[in-house]
Symmetry: C2
Subunit: 237 residues, 2 copies
């Protein structure tokens, strides 16, 4: 394969589903040709590459770590191979680089310098939950994490509900797994009975994926069980 | 393959790229088992199925059309096979069903009845352009089409720029191909010189894809050429 030199944005798995169920074969052909990867976590990245193709020789690959500990000043140097004509890949811990994770910085530098950027296709909990929620996909917003402080979170939930009513707009947000139950408590406390709430958990997991949309009133009546698993929440008032 | 009975949301191609470059092999295995499809356009859907697997026997498949001409009252009946225990697929004209197209209605009916909904993975111009723009992927909104009327469109562009500044939020919208040039004119007229504008066109096309982020000032200076091709626009002030 003759790979065009570019910054490739490589989605990674968001569950333990078989690789071929959620990644195009074409991604593997691209990954095989790349020797420089900017990654959120080196161990996870190595494991992902081995899952893509066990014959990949990891010892020939240079990894550049990009996470909360990275000095932003160092990030530009990670793109040096690309300036020299060699492709660089970006992989985040899970999902699509640059979307709800730190990958956007090297991409913005590449764009500023006019370097070629090519996104690959892969699973996204935001997009897949939106499709499956049945909510408005013509107009939606992703809000990342809501505030941890309970009063601020409740205020934010109320604000998002108002926005969704006013603009006929789906509002999407995430929570860290161990706070899922607290989040559900806040949502069922604050939201109006008629508001639709979709809870999507363990997306792409062939056995455990659950994407359920109900009126808040029905969630309250029928109860819910949400474990400490990756989940994403959508509301439409 | 023993397919779980569900409403499957099946992304379709957004360019003429080879199928394996942007679709997981797993999608084909699912598609092969489905005999009922809700589709935006039957001809396009037939072509897509043949592209997935030339051995699929189209004469064995029932199509249900869902587009501007469909009476919403008919849509519920399209889900009857699923109520009877047989999987139904939804495919839009291009991209992900339910996102920026009419697919959300049958999904919302399925959710209301507690029927299982399973999204598959495939290319999305919204998500792929966002990844490659280098703009904020922690907080973003998709706004569909902007108003056609020039004054209203300009007002809307100003409003989206203000929102993106105020909330550090990427604002995304689309335009029909033959109005791309008009849209660029409006954008370069209205936006502030420092605002970042990403124009992403022909996403996933191996030869023609172009995803470029520049300051508005630089777009003005360096000029641009945007044909009558599928494009998506992102701004961050």
């Amino acid at each position: 394969m003759n790979l065009q030199a570019a910054l490739y944005l490589i989605p990674t798995n968001i569950s333990e589903a078989p690789f071929a169920d959620f990644f195009p074969q074409g991604n593997i052909e691209v990954i095989r040709e790349i020797k420089h990867f900017i990654v959120e976590n080196i161990r996870t990245a190595r494991r992902f590459l081995k899952k893509c193709d066990p014959s990949i020789d990891i010892s020939q690959i240079t990894f550049y770590e990009l996470n909360g500990h990275t000095d932003p000043k160092d990030v530009s140097s990670y793109l040096q191979p690309l300036r020299d004509g060699n492709s660089v890949g970006i992989m985040s811990e899970a999902g699509c680089p640059g979307v709800a994770d730190p990958g956007a910085l090297p991409v913005s530098i590449a764009q500023k310098e006019g370097l070629k950027v090519i996104p690959l296709c892969g699973p996204s909990s935001i997009l897949m939950s939106l499709m499956a929620s049945g909510m408005n996909g013509q107009h939606f917003a992703f809000n990342g994490y809501l505030p941890v402080d309970i009063k601020e979170r409740e205020r934010k939930i109320r604000e998002l509900e108002q926005l969704s009513i006013k603009h006929d707009m789906t509002q999407i947000f995430i929570e860290t797994p161990y706070r899922n139950s607290k989040m559900m408590e806040s949502l069922l406390k604050i939201l109006r009975p008629d508001t639709l709430l979709c809870v999507a958990s363990e997306i792409t997991d062939p056995l455990r994926e659950k994407i359920v949309t109900r009126r808040v009133d029905d969630w309250r009546k029928e109860g819910y069980e949400i474990g400490k698993c990756p989940a994403i929440f959508l509301i439409h008032g």
